[in-house]
Symmetry: C2
Subunit: 271 residues, 2 copies
DNA sequence: TTGCTCCTCACGTCACGTGAGGTGGC
DNA sequence: TTGCTCCTCACGTCACGTGAGGTGGC
């Protein structure tokens, strides 16, 4: 048995505000069981309480409304569980990142004004196997992981031992939080022609002059090294509007602890 | 030594997007060191990198811009630490709540369709010591804690042993997520006149007929009991538009574990 | 008839992002 | 002169909240 109630009463039954209920109706997430054709009054069935409770729970977990829509729309239990599981995974990752930011904040507040050794380096042009894509800042870690796994896999198949691991970042990546990124593996001089699947490219990276600083520790602290190195560059040298390069000397594949990571940040400068 | 750079270069130094930097200028959170009077071009000093990094960290921790403003504005270290500490406390509390919601979600997904015992009760009017305030839903737990601690403190001073602990919730509290709440302690019949500080009131609660259900467990699951009880009421009885009452039989002061909480939910119905 | 519930706009919030359209400096 | 960087609106996003102004049902 199920009874129809007005929006106010349904709000008391579900602890969803009237404004929220109207919004969920507007976007067809929770449509009233009936609507009075004359007055437009919404009538909800008591059988809709459970859906409302699900929406309430998932919103408390910051799930976006379109995703909630997807969860409620499916009656395939395993698909629904997968959606929920994925969301909880994302929340876990978020939490993990938050913990890192807190640690990083303590570092920024500490008295340790990091003195930075800046090296001036003339790099020759190199031959690389690479992946180029437009990447949002939030997705950069995932992108690099996937790219390097594809690249190393390909080189292993071809029996080639790669040189350095690196990536170049277009200016837009910093100024608009989204830009063209090239993740690459350096190919030793004299590497013969390779079979290259079409998500990868073999290409050349131009040489040039760089101001180079070593970043020690987790990637979340990159802005400290960028700030220090960049300040040094604009104060003492002439920066060029070319992509910045990062060279991953020690990364997630080589060290278990992020404090062990070592990355060279290479800022293009005029010769 | 400090050098001035354009907004694009400063973006590369700080990993803040150009749009974000312009926004921070608009709200006077991070004002460029100088602005070209002719062109409006913003020039940032390398000495501003540290402030930018602080903003970046705090935003990653979801701190609202006005609060970041406050953190940066003070040069009193202990005050700044207090603001940061408070924010981290709030994040901890949020995290704790998230864990509870996840547990609660599992409950909703489980097969345990909770069968609810509904009792019809005629309550007499009672004499109470109370706190009345307009409270937002998000603040209700804090409000009740403070109210009950003030109320029990006052009664202890007066040497009076209270009857039941309860609260009434205006309809607006549910329909608009904010409404008038009365937290009360029942006074035994024949309680003599009391000294009452002016944040408290001695008053009467009207009697009436209620449909009552027992809610077992954490408050975060209240909507399940409300949904079940409210559905029963609209299907079998006549609800009245009066404040709903909750009676806290076992609460945080009496049980260490939220699973031990016991609360009666009382829905006003026609006689 | 008076309250009460409910309705639909239109606009605000928060922290920016997304173009459009245009200008100054090298 | 051509690019390039930078500028200022105006509007969009997301999930509602905040009134204003008005109507139907008891």
């Amino acid at each position: 048995m199920t009874t129809a109630v007005g929006i106010g009463e349904f709000s008391r039954l579900t602890h969803l505000s009237v404004k929220a209920l109207r919004h969920y109706h507007d976007i067809a997430l929770l449509v009233p069981a009936e609507i009075d054709p004359g007055t437009g009054y919404r009538r909800y069935a008591t059988g809709q309480v459970h859906a409302a409770q699900m929406i309430n729970r998932l919103r408390s977990l910051q799930m976006p409304l379109p995703q909630i829509q997807a969860v409620l729309a499916t009656d395939d239990t395993s698909e629904r569980d997968r959606l929920l599981h994925d969301h909880l995974q994302r929340m876990e990752a978020e939490l993990d990142r938050t913990r890192q930011v807190v640690a990083s904040l303590r570092g920024l507040l500490g008295t340790t004004a990091p003195s930075l050794a800046v090296e001036l380096r003339d790099s020759p042009a190199i031959d690389v196997l690479a992946v180029r894509e437009t990447v949002a800042r939030d997705d950069i870690y995932t992108f690099c992981n996937q790219a390097f796994s594809a690249l190393t896999g390909q080189l292993a198949e071809s029996g080639v031992t790669p040189g350095s691991f690196g990536a170049t970042y277009d200016e837009n990546f910093f100024t608009e939080d989204r830009g063209s990124v090239v993740a690459y593996l350096e190919l030793p001089a004299g590497t013969p022609p390779l079979a290259v699947p079409n998500n990868l490219v073999r290409t050349g990276l131009p040489g040039g002059r760089f101001a180079v600083a070593l970043h020690s520790g987790p990637y979340i602290d990159f802005d400290r090294t960028y700030g220090a190195l960049g300040s040094y560059v604009v104060e003492h040298l002439t920066p060029l509007p070319e992509p910045i390069r990062e060279i991953y000397l020690v990364g997630p594949d080589d060290a278990d602890d992020a404090t062990g990571y070592r990355t060279e940040v290479c800022w293009p400068i005029a010769a």
